[in-house]
Amino acid sequence: MIEITLAHYLALATILFCIGLIGVLRRKNLLLLFMATEIMLNSVNIGFAAIGHYYGDLSGQMFAFFVIAIAASEVAVGLGLLIVWYKRTGSIDLDSLSSMRG
């Protein structure tokens, strides 16, 4: 039986972050992009919580809560924008969002 240490938590957080990052980079569907972002945010939350616990400091958990709150509002706004965009163009493919081409 292996003891679960901080390193394990951080490893989990890193793995999740990388999964999220790959999702962000590879996915073209905006909805999936949002989900990938959520994974990344949550991986960070795990990191926060784990280190907070490790140091016996509550600010880590507090930060995690903040992140959850921000993520929730972000998703709310983001999904709203997404729906508007879908209604207007009929697509939520990332490559179609190129009106800001330089």
């Binding site: 990052l21 962000v24 980079l25 590879r26 996915r27 073209k28 990332l94 490559d95 969002l97 190129s98 009106s99 800001m100 081409r101 330089g102």
Partner: protein, 621 residues
């Protein structure tokens, strides 16, 4: 007395300015008269000063005002009238006054009449500054000033391409020598702390030997330019493109002797550097024979006289180089008179022949231009050095000096040159004035010059005859400022005089006999020696090929290849690299969110790595 000094100096300037005001107007006779009278005034003042000095008066030294003062350098406008400058002033103002009067007739029909007198008087002013300054910087002002006026006057007929080309050549060649002079001046300043003659000459004996040699050499380089010594001699012959009075005044009597004046003036330095002095004498002797040889075959009367001037300047340098400064000055004076006369005579001939210069096309002009012919013959006899004319006293003295100081080679060279001088002088006379009248076939209608032009020449003729008779007074006078040169040829002096006179007479006789029937058979012209001489030893061509043309080509190369294609291209390359990298990287901003997200991630990773590596954390391993 000071007032005479200022009058002598500034009268020509005033005349020049007055004439200059009307420079672009149509011909006004009074500009000629005003400048001439102001010069006469200047001449009069010079005579007063000369008489003052002759009467045992002190030398006059004035300091007008400060010119340049910076650091420890202090250069005033200071003027000095001593025996040397008084002699020069007398010669300069006398010849220029006469040339001015002569020019009123010579330039009568020229559109640039006023301009001409303005330039001519400006020249006299510069020349006066040159000879009267009491310091090397003032000398340099005059030095450049006469160069400038010479440029203006050679290129006086600026519509002629060859005239302006010659003017530029003269200016640039003189500039080359002026650089040497400038360096000499710098050397003097940094070693003696002053440029005043008296301070410098007082300090000279305590200077290091090498420094003295360098000073003497660099100053002589300056003198070589103005006095057209080899290898800077080509400009003088080309300078004959200017109006003839200019050739008489500038390129025979005054400006070209400035180099001799410089050596005479700086004699305390040259006395301390015998090697340099001997070098000067050798250059002089070489030029004497070298120039005389070119005069033998030339077919341009003014060029013949120009080469003769060159040759006589060589004589003067021999005298100066051998330490016989007063002899150099004496020959300078005598030469000024008879050579100016010769040129003015040539001017009359040119006028009569509508600017034709080839003596082969003349002949028999004696019948129509008796007075001019007589004057020119007087000048030629004086030049050839026949007793009792001026040249006999001054030129023979140089030969005696060379012999007496046991420089037999120099003497031999000069002796041969004396024969050549007599020959080419009378070749010119014969071809121009005697034998058959070839000009008639060519449709010329020559006439004698205006009487006042001849009268302006008369004093010069008189002086060409009698100047030599005052040798003793002259020696006594100038040796107050110059060292007496002693040499002992008493036992052979008669033999020397006879030998020299013989070769001169021989030259004359040969010339008369050879050219009794006009020009020689053209087959002579195929002779390689003739070819060499008529092409001036191919030196002008060599200069063109080895200096002028490479300079032009190198300039074009520098501009088109180096400046535009290397230096500027490098700058533009840097700029275009910046632009190019912008062009390449702007594809990153393609507006595609996923690729931009990719760049964000890549950037974050890079930054993270940078932080890790720069913070010095060792990766456990």
């Amino acid at each position: 007395m000071e007032i005479y000094l200022y009058i002598a100096l500034f009268a020509p300037l005033v005349g020049s300015l007055i004439a200059g005001i009307f420079g672009a107007s149509k011909k006004l006779l009074f500009t000629g008269i005003v400048t001439s009278s102001l010069l006469a005034l200047s001449f009069f003042s010079s005579i007063v000063l000369l008489v003052h000095l002759l009467g045992g008066g002190d030398e006059i030294h004035v300091e007008m005002m400060t010119w340049i003062a910076a650091g420890e350098l202090y250069i005033p406008f200071g003027f000095l009238v001593d025996e040397i400058s008084a002699t020069m002033m007398m010669v300069v103002t006398l010849v220029s006054t006469l040339v001015h009067i002569y020019s009123i007739g010579y330039m009568k029909h020229d559109a640039g009449f006023n301009r001409f007198f303005s330039y001519l008087s400006a020249f006299v002013f510069s020349m006066m500054v040159l000879v009267m300054s009491d310091n090397f910087a003032g000398l340099f002002i005059g030095w450049e000033g006469v160069g400038l006026c010479s440029w203006l006057l050679i290129g006086f007929w600026y519509k002629k391409d060859i005239a302006t080309w010659s003017a530029n050549e003269a200016f640039i060649m003189n500039r080359i020598a002026d650089l040497g002079m400038l360096i000499g001046i710098f050397l003097i300043y940094w070693n003696t702390g002053s440029l005043q003659y008296d301070t410098v000459f007082a300090a000279a004996p305590s200077l290091d030997e090498t420094i003295l040699v360098l000073i003497a050499l660099f100053l002589f380089i300056g003198a070589m330019g103005k006095s057209a010594q080899f290898p800077l001699h080509t400009w003088l012959a080309d300078a004959m493109e200017g109006p003839t009075p200019v050739s008489a005044l500038i390129h025979a009597a005054t400006m070209v002797t400035a180099g001799v004046y410089l050596v005479v003036r700086a004699h305390p330095i040259y006395e301390l550097t015998p090697d340099v002095s001997y070098f000067i004498a050798c250059v002089g002797a070489f030029v004497a024979i070298f120039a005389a040889s070119m005069a033998l075959v030339n077919r341009d009367i003014k060029r013949i006289i120009a080469y003769s001037t060159l040759s006589q300047l060589g004589y003067m340098f021999v005298a100066a180089g051998l330490g016989a400064y007063w002899v150099a000055l004496f020959h300078l004076m005598a030469h000024a008179f008879f050579k100016a006369l010769l040129f003015l005579g040539a001017g009359n001939v040119m006028h009569a022949m509508r600017d034709e210069l080839d003596p082969y096309k003349m002949g028999g002009l004696f019948k129509v231009m008796k007075y001019t012919a007589i004057l020119m013959i007087i000048a030629s006899v004086a030049l050839a050095g026949i007793f009792p004319l001026a040249g006999f006293f001054s030129k023979d003295k140089i030969l005696e000096v060379a012999f007496g100081s046991e420089n037999y080679i120099l003497w031999g060279v000069l002796w041969v040159s004396a024969g050549l001088t007599a020959f080419y002088s009378f070749r010119l006379i014969m071809l121009t004035f005697f034998s058959d009248s070839r000009y008639k076939k060519l449709g010329f209608d020559p006439h004698e010059a205006y009487p006042y032009m001849l009268w302006a020449m008369a004093p010069l003729a008189l002086l060409a005859i009698i100047a030599g008779w005052f040798e003793h007074q002259f020696v006594e006078f100038v040796t107050q400022a110059l060292p007496m040169f002693t040499f002992n040829v008493a036992d052979v002096v008669w033999m020397l005089i006879v030998v020299t006179t013989l070769i001169a007479l021989g030259g004359i006789a040969l010339a008369i006999w050879t050219y009794r029937d006009g020009p020689l058979d053209p087959k002579w012209e195929r002779n390689p020696i003739h070819k060499l001489l008529i092409n001036e030893y191919y030196i002008p061509a060599a200069y063109e090929r080895c200096i002028s043309r490479p300079y032009r080509e190198l300039s074009a190369f520098f501009w088109k290849e180096v400046d535009l294609k290397v230096v500027d291209y490098t700058v533009d390359l840097i700029a275009s690299m910046v632009y190019g990298s912008g062009k390449k990287t702007h594809t990153m901003q393609n507006g595609n969110l996923s690729s931009m997200l990719g760049w964000v991630a890549a950037g974050a990773v890079l930054l993270l790595l940078a932080v890790i590596f720069s913070s010095g954390i060792q990766v456990a391993g």
